[in-house]
Amino acid sequence: MNNINKYLKIAKDAVIQPYDDIDKKIINRISNINKRDEKLLDNEFLDYLKKNNSRIYLLIEKIKNNPAFFAALAIAGVFIIVFMAFIFKIFLDEEKIGGDNHQLPSSKDDTQ
């Protein structure tokens, strides 16, 4: 099956050579646009255009298309936040202990 996947991957770069000059036909068509052509921009198309111009819609689509990836990313994010909080807590605790130790000799000095 791996070979099939390889061939299908190569096939992405393959195009069909049209018999007629398709470019010329398309250019002719867009040079002679009439009112009937404007009907091609129906509600379905306008909705598609609107969605493609929305960052939120495109992001949601990306998440829907790769839910596992985004779930892993979210979990990794949570882990990083928890880890940072843990490191911060250790740092604070050490600072507190350091502060206490620093105060200790000075209290001895006071007694002398």
């Binding site: 099956m1 996947n5 299908l8 096939a11 393959a14 195009v15 069909i16 007629d20 250019i27 646009i33």
Partner: protein
């Protein structure tokens, strides 16, 4: 001139820039339409329709996705609409007869490893021939997944079939290609 500059110029109404976009993407649109519809005339019609839609709406294209992605989805949507219309109006046996139509496959990207191996190139052409001959229920999901990079979810939404069915059909389509390739050799 690069794609972005051409789009920017097209947005300002530069027709020559739009014509250059047509020349860059017409074969891609035509090929996508041909693989889905298996009909050269319908593929031509779809290509024209897609570019008319793009021409009339390019001013509203913000470029959040690439132009190729935009035009690809537009082509696929237009083809799926045609297929739905065809299933209502045409006998499926009629459309199947058109598989025998000859077409020439060319490679757009110069790939040295591919160029080195004539065998690879010919095998890819054989694979595409088999893809075109596949039944619609296998062909469309396979094309969308393997040639157009659609997700299973998107294919499921487009074809109106459950994701499980889409996955099964793609797997079966790949197996058919594998088995048929063996018989060719």
């Amino acid at each position: 001139m690069d794609e972005r500059a051409l789009i920017a110029k097209s947005k300002r109404g530069d027709k020559a820039a739009f014509e250059e976009l047509v020349r860059q993407f017409s074969k891609y649109v035509y090929t996508t339409a041909f693989f889905i519809l298996r009909d050269t005339h319908e593929a031509e019609d779809v290509s024209q329709e897609v570019f008319v839609k793009v021409y009339l709406s390019v001013k509203g294209f913000r470029g959040l996705s690439s132009f190729k992605t935009w035009i690809r989805k537009l082509t696929v949507n237009t083809c799926i609409d045609k297929l739905r219309l065809r299933s209502k109006t045409k006998d499926k046996k009629v459309s199947l007869e058109k598989i025998t139509e000859e077409y020439e496959v060319v490679f757009t990207r110069f790939d040295q490893s591919l160029e080195k191996s004539f065998f690879n190139k010919e095998t890819v052409k054989e694979v595409l021939k088999i893809v075109v001959s596949l039944d619609e229920s296998y062909r469309i999901p396979l094309i969308l997944r393997d040639l157009q990079d659609y997700s299973y979810r998107e294919i499921s939404e487009l074809t109106g079939k459950p994701i499980g069915t889409v996955k099964t059909n793609i797997h079966r389509a790949r197996k058919i290609i594998k088995d048929k390739l063996k018989t060719y050799r």
